[in-house]
């Protein structure tokens, strides 16, 4: 009997409608799975809101100290940046995803490989479902709280809205890909704690969670934005929604995200293929 793994083409003909149905079914199950963690969701939204207040006050004080506009941001833009950022944090899910690493460690990943869906695709579908749930429960509460207490910069140009939606979707995909790669080090390492810590450490600062990356000097900012996926995780969607730049730059940044999303998913596929070649599942 020939073995069927994700890297071996499945013995069914490619049917795009069937594929799409499978994808949405997995995404739907991701949505439902996360909707069972109600208390943790409430706790997370509360914490994001507290940090929203902390960061918003600090950045407004920075703007106040600099005489109003700082690094091209008005106070209203900064407030929007902080609160939408606190909402997006759980949607892109920067931290705390160890599902794949756990399954690699326990050997359960073997059953993922037996399925007729590529593991990267199936995990991505689950993650999109999760992000959809987070959009309702984790994005809305902090943003509404922020709107209640601070002046926001609402979009003036209508194309900003669809561009923001696209940018958030791409940010979720890129962030998923990064997390997948970090988790996939588990195929080679006994303990993924190291890569996980480095990711947690780097992603917050470099994605623009602690301060808008435009506060940095250009010689750091430009290479960071072009050569790493980090700004695409938060800074780009946030700069898009507050209309920090004119529309050509705005759409250019989203195009860059698109390139990163493709590159990272390709990377995930390559890593997965190489991992499957050396994977030995222990136990019975």
């Amino acid at each position: 009997m020939g073995s069927v793994t994700a890297t071996v083409p499945p013995p069914i003909s490619r049917n795009i409608i069937l594929w799409f149905r499978t994808f949405t079914a997995i995404a739907g199950s991701g949505f439902r799975r996360y909707s069972t963690y109600r208390q943790a969701t409430l706790a997370g939204a509360f914490t994001n809101t507290v940090f929203g207040f902390l960061r918003c006050y600090v950045l407004l004080a920075v703007a106040g100290g600099a005489g109003g506009i700082v690094a091209g941001y008005t106070p209203a833009q900064l407030a929007t940046f902080v609160w939408v950022g606190q909402g997006l944090l759980a949607v892109v899910l920067l931290w705390g995803w160890t599902d794949l690493a756990e399954r690699i460690r326990t050997g359960e990943v073997a059953s993922d490989l037996l399925r007729p869906v590529h593991p990267v695709v199936s995990y991505l579908a689950t993650d999109l479902g999760r992000a959809g749930y987070a959009l309702v429960t984790r994005f809305v509460p902090p943003v509404l709280t922020g709107l209640l207490f601070f002046d926001f910069k609402l979009p003036d140009r209508w194309p900003t809205v669809p561009l923001f939606v696209l940018s958030v979707a791409l940010a979720v995909v890129i962030c998923f890909g990064c997390r997948y790669l970090v988790n996939a080090t588990g195929y080679w390492l006994q303990d993924v704690r190291g890569p996980m810590i480095l990711w947690t450490l780097g992603s917050g600062v470099l994605a623009g969670l602690y301060f808008p990356l435009r506060f940095l000097p250009d010689w750091i900012l430009v290479p960071l934005w072009v050569a790493t996926p980090f700004p695409s995780l938060l800074q780009t969607p946030l700069d898009v929604v507050i209309e920090r730049d004119a529309w050509p730059v705005q759409s250019g940044m989203v195009a860059l995200q698109l390139a990163w999303a493709g590159l990272i998913l390709l990377g995930c596929r390559t890593v997965q293929r190489r991992a499957e070649r050396r994977l030995v599942v222990q136990g019975g």
Partner: protein, 273 residues
Amino acid sequence: MADRTYRLGVVPAYLALLRGQARSQASYRTSFVVDLVGNVGATVFDVLTVLVLFRVTRDLGGFDRTEAMVMVGLSSAAFATADLTVGNIERVRQYVRTGLLDAVLVRPLGALPQLLLMDLPVRKAARSLFGIGVLVTALALADVSWTPGRVALAVLAPLAGVVFFGSIFVATATLSFWWIDSGEVGSAFTYGGRDFTTYPMTVYSGWFRAVFAYGLGFGFVAYYPALALLGRADPLGLPAWVGWLAPGVALLAAAGAATAWRVGVRHYRSTGS
């Protein structure tokens, strides 16, 4: 073996726990080094964040960089040291959920000391040293006119901060006795408290500042001691001696946390898993 441990008293038992931890961590050397780097890195980034903010402004809430750095130093030295000594307690959440706490409670040792020794955070030591380094540098760069009183405060205030943050760690951990899935709520006060104390309190306003600074007591960790050290009047109008309240507030917090812990452990019902 169990007999002997009992005869020798509890201290060797705690030491055995500690040794076990040291051995288990020493067996994953690379992970240990990465952990160490990660831990120091987190605090380094916190300090760098403040420096980046001062790149784009000269004034934050009425304070310049050297003054603000004294608050940053007080806050990070106190937080990192508290995290080193009692930060483990955060894990109670998982222990309650998985039922591991049952095993801890049936042993003939105190629950709190055991939980603190169930992880040996040597990796966090470097972070604490870095925090203290920031404080010493900030005090050296700031124009402090040293008096015996200020020298005493410069030593007392970080210690009080350690006790205060330690109390916050313990108090937020007890939440899980009542609310098993409390998740990240604790971080809003532990890491949130660290963020709050990092900046001059004048940047916050309204009820938010009142709750965090006076209601929860975070104002007395870094802001007021820093004002007393720098000899600056409080823009918010409190008298100069308020900086000296830090140890008192810390003891009050410790008493509150101890009570909450005792009530919590008594309230604990195993999840049965």
